[in-house]
Symmetry: C2
Subunit: 354 residues, 2 copies
Amino acid sequence: MFRKCILAAQSYVPGEQPQDKTIIKLNTNENPFQPSLRVNDAVSNALTALNRYPEPTSHVVRNAISELCGIPTHQIVVGNGSDEILSLILRATIDPEDTVGMLDVTYSLYNVLVRLQGGVVVEYPTDNMFIPKKLPSTLNEKLILLASPNAPAGNLLPKLWIEEVCQKVPGLVVIDEAYIDFASKDHLHLLKQFDNVLITRTLSKGYALAGVRLGYVLASEHVITELNKVRDSYNVDRLAQEIAVAALRDQSYYQQVWSKIKTLRTTLAHDLEELDCTVLPSEANFLLVRPQWVSAKELYERLKEKGVLVRYFGQSRLEDYVRITIGTEKELDILSSYLSELRKNRDFLDRQKS
Amino acid sequence: MFRKCILAAQSYVPGEQPQDKTIIKLNTNENPFQPSLRVNDAVSNALTALNRYPEPTSHVVRNAISELCGIPTHQIVVGNGSDEILSLILRATIDPEDTVGMLDVTYSLYNVLVRLQGGVVVEYPTDNMFIPKKLPSTLNEKLILLASPNAPAGNLLPKLWIEEVCQKVPGLVVIDEAYIDFASKDHLHLLKQFDNVLITRTLSKGYALAGVRLGYVLASEHVITELNKVRDSYNVDRLAQEIAVAALRDQSYYQQVWSKIKTLRTTLAHDLEELDCTVLPSEANFLLVRPQWVSAKELYERLKEKGVLVRYFGQSRLEDYVRITIGTEKELDILSSYLSELRKNRDFLDRQKS
């Protein structure tokens, strides 16, 4: 009764989402700060008409995005999180056996989405800093999915490398900018340069609205037309639309949030290095961290015992790393002091052994 | 760059959604009353953690549904409106050229969803009251989509006819209960009787929450497993989850709402018949109406000029009908008085002509 590709597919495994609020949650790259206070007023507005369908094209949200990015509203689709946007793109483009390109280490949802369509993943290799190596001389993919900043490493992909991808590939190139608000530059220029480029964004990370589900895509008009066919008419609810507009219009608040997170990122990276951890350079709201004196798995488990949740992936290339989301100053201080304590005990045990 | 089935597909055309609140909106079967007041408190709760991802399986919502229907939580999937639920079902089951059965006059989204998958629609004929005729001796469909109460006619499908469908078909049978809260009986017994039955429901109509997007499906566990693979991890946002639970738990309020709408339905049907309109028996929150003294198209247009929006479909079988949502008493009084006025002018013009 079910399609072969669905029976063969596996679910995406999201990070743990314990509902216990005493846990220090540094595992799924949420923003530790609250969203703009304007969101509360926006919610009150939406509450007066919950019995009515939302406006089907998220027109007010597209207006706010357009003002912010300088991209016209007819080049924007708004979705129920950028997860839905990515799903729309795959469903519009990938038939069984079609190939989809991506880096060998990247956001694991991409692989799941390709398999749901019965597509085939083509991996482009990265070096030990997770930076893409030289591209093959020809690219035949129907679609390429790139996260920049990439997850879970945190690096922006090199500008020339991305441009080469856009030029070489016959299909579409998605640049997933989920973490762009924490980065030093974006990829909007590529949208003007190449008509096969799609840029996806989310309000989950930068705008502290993971609980609301609001993502969007910027693309050429002919791409938007096809994505809108696949989209449910009322995919974004009234509350999410009102909240998104309020948040997008409060840039001055969010500039402060992003600046704070970048400062905390620098401090945390420094503290972790002092604690003999290797930290990859990051332009996102997380750090990929390799402890030198304990296995990543054990570190993850020890921290979890203490009520601090970080992300451990356990796959081969990531086996030695944990990914730590930038939390509040207080949360990161607690993390650092636990790490420091763990390391001291480890030294003590090592000394006893020898 | 796009799949053949997508390029060939057309978008679903939702009813008009003017944002002007002075319009009397009787065109998209929304509930004219406000949702339970408990929804407001629920929203306040959710506002404290919008920066965090929602619980991925909508566990609290499934609990509330389970208590209400007596179906265990592992037989429930919650979605971003029942539109998303229907889309999940089609994406999990239909490959290009697969056949999907449905009545020849039913919810027009079904046809759109089948075409998006490259599937082929098989229509089962209905009589002039939109009641299904005798089934073919064999059914080979991979999936059958039935709305009961059906839209836009409003009738419950005959029990024996549905049972025959469930027995005969090798594939899955979806019973879309979007309007079940206004009907005299539901189809839960079929879920126990047949393991190929899926029942979909929404909070848009009965619970006055069209703006929130919350639907769900009840099905056998093996069906739920496959649907969950296709579902985005965080498909239902925090606000929607909290709101849904609050609403589902306020049954006493909603019983009053449904009873009121059923009373208004009876009154409106009576008034329309007095005004020489044929009204089909309805178990939903709308009436399918055939005026005898004016074309349906003209009636739609005249009412629109007056600021009253009803639904006119214009396809062959529905050409002579408008569908009118049950609004508030005041809205329906205004509608009736406009109709009465129109008819008087019509009589006057007719008399002048003759």
